[in-house]
């Protein structure tokens, strides 16, 4: 029974945040661009989310006749599913987590790789050249970034000596990992941006070149799932950065632990939006080049150094 409440609670919180981010992102982007943002619907425009959701539900849910129907319909579900599953291992607090798995981090990495299928299959099933180019880019980008996303976390795992996200947080009682693992943090952040296809790494959907990339042919709630999936991804990566590098629910005790977790996560979500507001999209080859030629050696160096320091400390 307790499990049921936790699962329902996590689902409710995650979906509310993801939907709320539609409003938050528009408001924050407006803030950074000297505009007002949506402020018409309800107090401060807060009901904008509701209006958007009602609109998207009543839109025609069109499947193109030339599309591969089954795959076309499944694709957005894979994205939502893989991201929602990952939230199972996120420790919101010491008590409030669905699954305290001893392979939590691997579970996340596996699920985030599964998420790529959604985009590749979605673009492939659309049977549209722009969608296909978008999904090919997505798969290449994922190959690049999955590699050092995993490797950037190795340092954390070595220091914490555990794959369980709860134990990683517990290991940070002495000091948050973003100081000893600063390189790992920066690279995980960049990989997280690429993972969620956020600007500046929204190359798979590059609207200036590819219409809307992999989801050109999607409409109605199927598009809505890609849309909300992106925000859930942002929430997920922010929550993971909080957990892995910024001590999760740890914080001064005058506020409840859950509050600290949400505060830190909210900070990183805002940082994601700030980066979207400020950076242009790099060219495709530039992205691959930075990935393989700069970030990968850096992350390997980080692992080497972390290992050396750990051995030195033990000796």
């Amino acid at each position: 029974m307790k499990y049921f409440f936790i699962i329902a609670g996590v689902l409710l919180i995650v979906l509310t945040i993801a939907a709320g981010l539609i409003y938050v992102e528009r408001r924050l982007l407006a803030l950074f661009q000297d505009r007002q943002g949506p402020n018409r619907v309800g107090p401060f425009g807060l009901l904008q989310v509701l209006a958007d959701v009602i609109k998207i539900f009543f839109k025609e849910d069109w499947t193109p006749p030339f599309a591969d129907k089954a795959v076309f319909i499944i694709a957005p579900g894979i994205l939502m599913g893989s991201i929602l599953l990952t939230f199972a291992v996120i420790p919101f607090t010491d008590q409030f987590l669905v699954l305290d798995s001893n392979i939590g981090l691997l579970f996340f990495l596996g699920n985030s790789s599964l998420g790529v299928y959604s985009i590749v299959l979605g673009g492939w099933a659309s049977n549209n050249k722009y969608s296909l180019i978008g999904s090919i880019r997505a798969s290449a980008q994922m190959l690049t970034y999955e590699v050092f996303m995993g490797l950037s976390l190795v340092g954390v795992v070595m220091t914490a000596d555990s794959f369980s996200l709860r134990e990683i947080v517990e290991a940070q009682r002495g000091g948050w990992f973003f100081i000893p693992q600063f390189v790992g943090f920066v690279i995980f952040f960049i990989a997280g941006l690429a993972e969620t296809h956020r600007t500046p790494f929204d190359i798979p959907e590059a609207e200036g070149e590819l219409v809307a990339g992999f989801h050109s042919e999607y409409s109605g709630m199927k598009f809505g799932m890609f849309f909300v999936g992106e925000y859930m991804g942002v929430t997920l990566i922010s929550a993971l950065i909080t957990t892995l590098f910024f001590g999760g629910w740890l914080g001064p005790s005058f506020l409840p632990p859950a509050f600290w977790f949400f505060l830190k996560t909210a900070f990183f979500i805002c940082l994601f939006i700030l980066i979207r507001a400020s950076l242009p999209r790099p060219r495709y080859d530039q992205l691959m080049e930075t990935g393989w030629k700069i970030l990968l050696p850096l992350v390997l160096l980080n692992i080497l150094l972390t290992g050396a320091i750990l051995i030195y400390k033990q000796a």
């Binding site: 407006a30 803030l31 950074f32 661009q33 000297d34 505009r35 700030l274 507001a277 400020s278 950076l279």
Partner: protein
């Protein structure tokens, strides 16, 4: 790398700038007095219509949106029988105002003229005529014109000399 961080920081600083957006329906913009908006027909200081139905505005109008019919009252003073401006055609160029010899037709700082029905964009004289004098206070055309229209006697106007008796040699 530094330039990327710098641009992120500069974007962040924009959060504290003044907003470019004006909250229009709640916060009205400032319109200067010479703003070319809705067209009105003004009255002279005595409260009579300034318009003498000379048709110059209609002639000047590049989109032919002004239509009027001249008539005379019992004193022989000209005024428009009807005066019609089709605002769905009007381009607010202000040429009618420039053409007007009596300062009767004027453009004022008001642009909120949207209608659901296009026919409502056609303004008749009763919609155009206002009670005041508009931008030119105290101006009365018949005070500077040569003709006597009951405002002043012949030759009594500003910059005007009394009429000469052509039959008299001594003057």
């Amino acid at each position: 790398m530094i330039s990327i961080l710098r641009s992120i920081w500069l974007t962040f600083l924009h959060a504290f700038r003044k907003r470019e957006t004006r909250g229009y329906p709640e916060k009205k913009p400032y319109l200067p007095p010479r703003y070319r908006g809705r067209i009105v027909l003004t009255r002279d200081p005595d409260g009579k219509e300034r318009c003498v139905a000379c048709n110059l505005c209609a002639a000047a109008c590049p989109v032919d949106c002004i239509a009027l019919q001249a008539t005379e009252d019992k004193d022989g003073r000209r005024y428009p029988e009807f005066f019609r401006i089709n605002f769905s055609r009007c381009i607010f160029c202000g040429l009618c105002e420039e053409a007007c010899p009596t300062y009767a037709i004027q453009l004022i700082p008001d642009f909120e003229m949207a209608e659901y029905n296009r026919q409502n964009m056609v303004y008749e004289k009763e919609h155009l005529l206002i009670q005041g004098q508009g931008k030119y206070h105290g101006f009365n055309f018949y005070r500077v014109a040569g003709v006597n229209m009951g405002v002043k006697g012949t030759g009594e106007g500003e910059n005007e000399e009394p009429p000469i008796d052509l039959k008299n040699l001594i003057h």
